[in-house]
Subunit: 223 residues, 2 copies
DNA sequence: CGGACCTGTAATGTATACAATAGCCTTTCC
DNA sequence: GGAAAGGCTATTGTATACATTACAGGTCCG
């Protein structure tokens, strides 16, 4: 995407992920255009892209709103992420380069520092956790898969700013990352898939616990 | 989408699926605009949507071309479709309405007619097969899942016009559909998932065989 | 003779004006 | 006073003009 469209995309996406625009908030093209100093044309392009990525929903009358996720939507999002990221780990095990494994180890060492201090360094944890997972997605070598993951990975980020991470959860996360690295070193696709699957499932329940604690209706684990 | 944008979307999509625009063909906005009697603006919107759905790829310099799929892309597409449609079947088993099951049975009866004659009625088979699978996707009740499936289901349609279906393959397909209906009647999610998974995997190999027969490089089953 | 740069041409990116449509408020009639 | 209908306003859809960027061809210099 080019300059103005990219500006609009990042602006709207940022407003949504930061929580400045909550679920259901209306998105008027003209207002967004003046807010980020471009014309409506690139704003429209950004909105359509965000719609494809499920950040935005449109009414039957073509008006745009920040997406509202039901508990089932969230549970389903995690179910899809579990499958897709497990699959990505299996593919990555056969394709990942040694340098990428080292980069993952470096990011996970940083995660260890972030969760090992007196208080959990949430910002650092989030950044290195994201980078760690991104390497797996990249190593899987499937753009289609990467695009699908993009629509489910960022979904629950809104809550991240609202809560402190549970130390036990992030410590487990760190250990699971280490095990994934071991699976990659052995190039064991099924091991990698299993570790990643368990990792995302545990993250789902950690998220769900925090969600309920925040006084909202939790997602239902079905099936 | 509104009128002009929808016109452009269907026009370009149709040209790609019909094979009139082969893989790698350049897509110039102005030319497409005059071809379907609208301005560049709705054409651009259609191209961006088709890009999100992976029908179109863009060069680093922002030019648009009909997507070219490598053998690994195709194999990966089927792998994703296997996972996602298996998941859809499992979800559908818990949610599908009796009328939907009856509709599936009706479509599969039509499939039986299409594949049981002196020659296979390809057009009828394709139409009813598609409707059958669409009911499963709808019954799964997840728009996100439906959107993901849309990007992998149509992928290999280009070849459908070029070959006659193998009678054994379509007959098996018919039988597998029947078994899926049985699983739905019992509301057995894991049975439904297993049947659908096997169904798509078999379809992949049928596709791959036809692909090789057509003198092209077949997709590689990896892992 | 080859390569690099520069210029012309053609494509895409952006802005803006205009058209169509949906929503809302007001007004009018029962 | 309420409900329905009509017009006004706000928002999105489309077209077009202009800006910007990339590709290609040629020319100039080494």
């Amino acid at each position: 995407m080019s300059k103005a469209a990219d500006t609009a995309y990042r602006y709207v996406r940022g407003e949504i992920l930061s929580g400045a625009l909550g679920p259901g908030a209306p998105l008027r093209e003209e207002a967004l255009a003046v807010a980020c100093g471009v014309s409506r044309t690139p704003v429209r392009e950004a909105l359509r892209r965000l719609e494809a990525e499920r950040f935005i929903q449109r009414s039957e009358t073509q008006r745009s709103y920040v997406a509202t996720l039901s508990p089932d939507d969230i549970a389903e999002g995690f179910a899809l992420r579990t499958m897709l990221e497990g699959h990505a780990a299996a593919r990555a095990a056969a394709r990942i380069a040694p340098e990428q494994i080292e980069a993952m180890a470096a990011h996970n060492a940083a995660v260890g520092v972030a969760v090992g201090g007196a208080t959990v360094d949430t910002a650092s944890f989030v950044a290195h956790n994201r980078a760690f997972h991104q390497i797996v997605t990249d190593a899987a070598g499937s753009e289609r898969l990467a695009a699908m993951l993009a629509t489910v990975v960022e979904q629950p980020i809104v809550l991240r700013t609202a809560r402190h991470y549970d130390r036990e959860a992030v410590t487990r996360s760190h250990a699971e990352h280490d095990e994934l690295i071991l699976a990659f070193r052995r190039r064991d696709a099924e091991w990698a898939r299993a570790v990643m699957t368990a990792h995302i499932r545990r993250a789902f329940h950690a998220y769900d616990d925090a969600f309920r604690q925040a006084g909202l209706t939790g997602a239902r684990t079905e099936e």
